[in-house]
């Protein structure tokens, strides 16, 4: 291995190519790996389905049609029909916007609060940090699903409560990730220089720390997003998520479970919808992390 000095000399051209490429979206995309771009394409499809779903569906997602119960997939019903004769395709498409809105809001609030707590606590250090993080440990010691169920049975199931519950469950995890990121930065020269010019902690966290943990927070957001998709679906499956008649993938799987030997498609298509979305989000998280390390080494080289 060449030492770092050698590596710096091996560098060749100035690394500005990489740092300045952030200017345009095209440049940004071009500097990403194939996995990241593929994941973004899949997510774009989901977002479009969520936005335009109601225009695309051939049937009402909630209308019963007792003439066609448990029909196999066909040209009339792409994904078949369920026990009440509802069109599975329409229900899957209609469920997209619900799950996206729920999981994005839950993730934004969980990661937002978690990262703020983690940054502040890690930056402060000492006894308060110890206190906050042990509190987070207590929350984390409870199984995710159990804690969410507990909160929902206590507050009752509604969309805001669902978002709140998922947030509470994921805040400690985001806090821990953000804290470990800030711990490695707090004694660095540029942070101390900011203290020496009299900047207060909030300013330092916002202008000096946050830009340097942006990548970590981005990846954390994707990972939490994938987990909250799964959690919302699990809660739907258990009957504490989105309430019928509104279509929800987890709830659809739960209902279709009884027919699985007769009509596999009722379970299959919502499960696929969840699966592909979660894989895409994970792929994005992975890709962003790889790009980060790749760009970092390119910067060193």
């Amino acid at each position: 291995m060449p030492d770092q000095g050698t590596a710096a000399v091996l560098a060749g051209g100035p690394p500005s190519r990489f740092t300045r490429a952030y200017g345009g979206v095209i440049g940004w995309l071009r500097s990403r790996t194939l996995a990241t771009r593929a994941a973004l394409a899949i997510l774009l499809v989901y977002v479009l389905l969520g936005l335009l779903g109601s225009l695309l569906v051939p049937y009402s997602p909630t209308a019963f049609d007792m003439m066609v119960p448990l029909n196999a997939p066909s040209w009339q019903h792409f994904f078949g029909t369920d026990g009440f004769g509802r069109d599975v395709f329409s229900r899957v498409v209609a469920g997209t916007s619900t799950i996206l809105i729920l999981s994005v809001s839950a993730t934004v609030w969980a990661v937002g609060v978690g990262v703020s707590i983690g940054l502040a606590s890690g930056y402060r250090g000492g006894r308060p940090d110890e206190f906050v993080m042990r509190g987070m440990d207590v929350l984390m010691a409870l199984p995710t699903l159990l804690l969410a169920l507990l909160i929902l049975t206590w507050l009752g199931s509604s969309k805001p409560n669902l978002i709140f519950a998922i947030g509470v469950v994921f805040v400690p995890k985001s806090a821990r990730v953000a804290r470990s990121a800030v711990l490695s930065l707090r004694k660095l020269g540029y942070i101390e220089a900011a203290k020496l010019r009299g900047d207060h902690a909030g300013r330092i966290l916002l202008f000096e720390v946050l830009p340097n943990v942006r990548d970590v927070v981005g990846v954390e957001f994707c990972v939490r997003f994938a987990y909250s998709l799964l959690l919302i679906s699990s809660l739907g499956f258990l009957g504490l998520g989105v309430q019928p008649p509104e279509p929800d993938w987890g709830q659809m799987i739960s209902e279709g479970r009884n027919y699985i030997t007769l009509a596999w498609w009722i379970v299959m298509f919502p499960a696929l919808a969840i699966g592909i979305l979660v894989v895409a989000v994970n792929l994005l998280a992975d890709g962003l992390w790889q790009d980060r390390t790749r760009l970092q080494s390119a910067r060193i080289l």
Partner: protein, 684 residues
């Protein structure tokens, strides 16, 4: 010849194109000979060292030449055969012993593995040989040490273990890649003594790689100077240091602080520019863009020429360049300045740390980092603060800067009391007191441009400024950087340039006191000299007071007007810099001075050595804190009573039980006995 490198070129594949890190290097090494390879970072010395054990990094490719070990090409050898040679006939010692040793195995086991693997001994025999080998590297209590884990040993002891592993099977070739760079200066001196001793005892050919010219002068028989992948000069150690011929070698030696030199007597000469990027090498002589003797003939690539018997140099103009060293340049402007009034005064500073979590619950003790220090800084003056790592000098600086809150003691700036925490200090004070940090890589926020980094500082320190642009351009000019640099990101700057920007930042608000925390230690020699020059020039312009922390005594002695020596959180000696090496008073100061490797070949061994690591500050020794390591301990009084401050010659004060006259007698007698051992006349 045991080992010969013949016209070797190694090229790395990089995103920016092929980077030829080593080009046409030819070297030869016989039994019992020590070859020193010296070069700054990026010179290709590590790539060359790895090629010498038959290793090329995954992206590296040999483009020409061979590495011959007893006539066989190591780089063409099948892996199995190479594996049989490595560790047995060719051994290597790396820079960081912490990373070389396996933390999960006892060190005895790690040495025994060599005998198991290469010599096929039984575990019992191998362990016995391991203990024997620890004895060979002068490890105290070898059998007890063999049963320890690496984390239970000090840095110097760990490096002894690594050397014991390398020496286990009496290799023909021993490659030492910066073996003392990660160690404290006092530990370095002890390890260098050991290596010198080993060199005498074994007949191995040794390759000693270092960036430190002083260490190379002490260790090597022959020296190859590398620059940007080429050997530019190759000569015997005497010939190289007494008659340096290549302009680069000479410039490098001029960058070093000569023993006894100070800013009053001699200005440092720095090498302009920076080492070229390997993907954009100049077509002619690689040093031509930075060379003060360049001419048109230098635009053709030079070959190695024989300057004298066994002295080769890669320069076409070596005959025309005057061989006498340049006359000492005029003393630096700041030296003429008279000392001003006291700007900052600290009294009785104490700071301790306690651990949180499990350690604290189990009755964690407090680490006394600074234990009662008085000091003062005056306008136009430089106070140098020296000591080993762990002596508390950085904590003291951080207290003064307000980054740590001292528990006891008072601080006054121009007579007015100042609170410790930086948040409690008024804005007008922040502007006057700034810090230059050690690590150039983290001193600037990598996500902001230089303008962003400096601009935010400027706005905070001088809120009244409407248009910062002219001030920022002026700040860049002050540190001799092009204003274009304002729009670059820190990643696009070299280490020295980043440190310049950091200095510019400290000077933005017109400071009066600048605290420098090892600002040079992460920089190459040629860059260090230019930063020292810059700091002194800025002092002459702005009449600031500096506190300069460094572990490099030579630099401190050069730059400082006054030197304070710190040990285990306490000052032990304080006095004017010019009298420092002539007559060290405190035994610790004497040991620090003895540990410095001078760039003068074959120096007689120095006076005294410190054994063992610095004691833990959680439980400092009783009486004089230095008594556990003191080579001049006089008796039980050192263990029981705190020593008094004594007045020495020429305004020097030190904290010791020994009277100045008595100390002087001890120093003379030990110098005489040592010199007698080594067969030298006592130094006058």
């Amino acid at each position: 010849m045991v080992l010969a490198v013949d016209d070797l070129s190694v090229t790395y594949a990089t995103p920016a194109g092929p980077a030829p890190a080593v080009r046409s290097v030819s070297l030869a090494l016989g039994r019992g000979e020590t070859l020193g390879i010296v070069g700054e970072s990026g010179s290709g010395k590590s790539t060359l060292a790895h090629a010498m054990i038959g290793y090329l990094a995954p992206l590296a490719r040999r483009t020409s030449g061979r590495v011959l070990f007893h006539g066989d090409d190591l780089l063409a050898m099948p892996g199995a055969k190479l594996a049989g040679l490595r560790g047995r006939r060719i051994a290597m010692v790396h820079q960081n012993p912490q990373a070389t040793l396996n933390p999960a195995l006892k060190v005895g086991t790690q040495i025994a593995e060599v005998f198991r693997h290469h010599a096929g001994l039984s575990w019992a025999e191998a362990r016995a040989r391991a203990v024997e080998n620890l004895g060979r590297v002068n490890m105290p209590e070898p059998s007890a040490a063999a049963a320890r884990y690496p984390h239970e040993l000090s840095g110097g002891q760990r490096q002894r273990v690594v050397i014991a592993i390398a020496l286990a099977l009496d290799p023909d070739v021993l490659i030492l890649d910066e073996p003392t760079t990660a160690l404290d200066v006092t530990t370095e001196a002890v390890i260098l003594d050991l290596l010198r001793d080993i060199k005498r005892r074994i007949g191995a050919a040794i390759v000693y790689i270092s960036h430190n010219l002083g260490v190379i002068a002490q260790m090597a028989d022959r020296v190859a100077v590398m620059y940007a992948g080429e050997v530019v000069e190759d000569a015997s150690v005497e010939s190289l240091f007494l008659r340096p011929t290549h302009p680069y070698t000479r410039a490098l030696l001029d960058c070093l602080v000569q023993p006894g030199a100070s800013k009053r007597t001699r200005a440092l000469t720095a090498i302009p520019g920076a080492i070229p990027r390997l993907t954009q090498l100049p077509a002619g002589c690689i040093f031509e863009p930075r060379c003060m003797h360049r001419a048109d003939v230098c635009l053709d690539h030079p070959d190695m020429e024989d300057a004298s018997a066994g002295h080769r140099v890669r320069c076409v103009r070596w005959r025309e360049i005057p061989t006498t060293p340049a006359p000492p340049a005029a003393a630096s402007a700041s030296a003429a300045q008279s000392p001003g009034s006291t700007l900052m005064e600290a009294k009785g500073v104490r700071k301790s740390f306690s651990e949180w979590g499990v350690a604290a619950m189990l009755g964690g003790r407090r680490v006394q980092a600074v234990a009662g220090v008085d000091m003062a800084l005056a306008r136009n003056r430089v106070l140098g603060l020296v000591g080993e790592s762990g002596s508390g000098k950085t904590t003291l600086l951080r207290c003064l800067a307000g980054l740590e809150t001292a528990e006891e003691g008072s601080l006054a700036v121009e007579g007015f009391p100042v609170p410790w925490p930086v948040r409690a200090r008024p804005q007008s004070l922040l502007r006057r007191l700034q810090v230059v940090f050690q690590d150039p890589e983290s001193t600037l926020n990598p996500k902001h441009t230089v303008r962003g980094n400096l601009g935010r500082h400027l706005r905070a320190l001088l809120p009244a400024v409407r248009d910062p642009s002219p001030l920022l351009a002026q700040a860049m000019a002050r540190v001799r950087l092009d204003p274009d640099y304002l729009d670059r990101y820190p990643a696009e700057l070299s280490g020295g340039e980043k440190q310049r920007v950091a200095i510019a930042r400290a000077f933005l608000g017109g400071p009066e006191v600048v605290l420098c925390d090892e600002p040079l230690s992460a920089l190459d020699v040629s860059v260090q000299a230019s930063i020292v020059k810059l700091l002194l020039d800025l002092q002459a312009e702005a009449h600031v007071a500096y506190l300069l922390i460094s572990h490099d005594l030579a630099v401190v002695r050069y730059v400082a007007d006054e030197i304070a020596v710190m040990y285990l959180g306490r000052l032990v000696e304080l006095g004017p810099a010019e009298t420092f090496d002539a007559a060290p008073l405190h035994p610790y100061t004497e040991a620090l001075l003895s540990a410095v490797s001078l760039p003068i070949p074959r120096q007689p061994p120095s006076r005294i050595r410190l054994q063992g690591p610095i004691p833990s500050p959680t439980d400092p020794p009783s009486g004089c804190v230095f008594h556990t390591r003191c080579p001049r301990k006089i008796g039980t009084i050192c263990e029981t009573a705190m020593p008094p401050w004594r007045e020495g010659v020429s305004g020097r004060r030190y904290c010791c039980h020994i009277e100045p006259e008595e100390l002087r007698r001890m120093q003379v007698s030990s110098a005489t006995s040592l010199a007698a051992d080594a067969g030298h006349a006592p130094p006058s």
